[in-house]
């Protein structure tokens, strides 16, 4: 328990990222509206970026952009690798969001609603209509 408390006070970036991830996850599970579901997925993505960036951060060091004429020292800059990984994460998140929203738009064109419950009910009705016309 003391370990946990120490973690919450010292590593508040990581703790915040995990709680944000949980909020996004709960949003993904509980929302009925499909667009709000994908907003939850985006919140989860944001939590992952926060986690990665906090792993690469070093207190007192600056952004990794060298000065011309001076030797770049590792003791001056933060870790650049998590920054590059966050870039990958952002690109993948944009692509996944675009693709899923396109699917949602197709669903809306077919059923005229964004609510997952209603879509499931209408889908069942359509299947019954097909089986006994």
């Amino acid at each position: 328990m003391t370990n946990m408390l120490r973690f919450l006070t010292e590593n508040h970036y990581e703790a915040g990222a995990i709680i944000l991830f949980g909020i996004g996850f709960l949003n993904l599970l509980l929302q009925d509206n499909l667009i709000k579901k994908f907003i939850g997925l985006n919140i989860m993505d944001t939590a992952v970026y926060l986690f990665l960036v906090s792993q690469g951060y070093i207190a007192g060091h600056t952004a990794p952009i060298a000065t011309v004429g001076q030797k770049a020292l590792a003791s001056k800059f933060i870790n650049p690798i998590p920054s590059g990984l966050v870039l990958t994460g952002i690109v993948v998140s944009v692509s996944v969001t675009a693709f899923s929203l396109a699917l949602v738009q197709r669903l809306y064109k077919k059923y005229g609603t964004l609510s997952l419950d209603k879509v499931l009910v209408l889908l069942k009705e359509d299947k019954e209509d097909e089986s006994n016309p």
Binding site: N11, I65, P80, I81, T88, F99, S115
Partner: protein, 305 residues
Amino acid sequence: MKENGGKWEKFFKWINGETTIDSVILENSRKKRFAKRKLRHQKAKFIALRLKHSKRRIQEIICIIVAVVFIGILLKTASELPTCGKPDNPVNNEVSERYLEKGVEETGSINLVSGMILDYRAFDTFGESCVLFTAVICVAMLLKRDKNNIDPIEDQELKEDEEIKNADGSLILKFVARLVIPFIFLYGIYVILNGHLSPGGGFSGGAIIGAGLMLYSTAYGQENTRRFFTYETFKKVSATCLLIYCFSKGYSFFTGGNHLKNIIPKGIPGNILSSGLILPLNICVGIIVACTMYGIYSFFTKGDI
């Protein structure tokens, strides 16, 4: 004077929330069209509500329990992590040290992140560009309005939207867009060309240019954007940029080089024409991202570029 009075009257009507006769008729026809759909919905809503009261309640409780347990496990695991912000954490190992200390010398790029993602890890960035391109192809597959995906009702709705938009005129938007758009494009090009010297690069600059294209298309309509950016140009430009990227980094498979050497000389670090292949690759990535952003936007709004 009379003309002016008419305009003012229209403006007052718009302020008061009254609409012109045309749009009222349009609204009515749209309402009729949706009446049938609505009936079906109400039935579905009724069933969904009934479901909610019985099954949903238990489902929600289970979901909350699962999420809380999940957060607890993650927090417990993460509490074993070293303290954030210490220079001797295991994340800051010899790999990042090498990237930071030898980066300027080996890649010729002042911005060390740029040097990392476009030289040491260029294949990673190539994968990212491919992911973006695949996403826009998937969106086009789902939403493009071609001969397999035509709905007469939707066509009419789009036409009506266009009419309402033309009747409004959107003066403020057009005026502000005319002022702002050149600077947006200029800034985007600056960010792309200075990707190896300052914060920024292909992805951020491309996103800025894409935003400028979206603003232009919103203010002046898609017909005006089509004068210089059609589906054909979109296809050709983004495929060419991907191929250039692929060949400029993929040739080392055939030459068998261990370190990916630049064909172009590195130049003096700090000059705009330096750092070998990073500048052309930044331009390629920027064009791909700009095309992708604008493509996704226009497929979602009008179903075509």
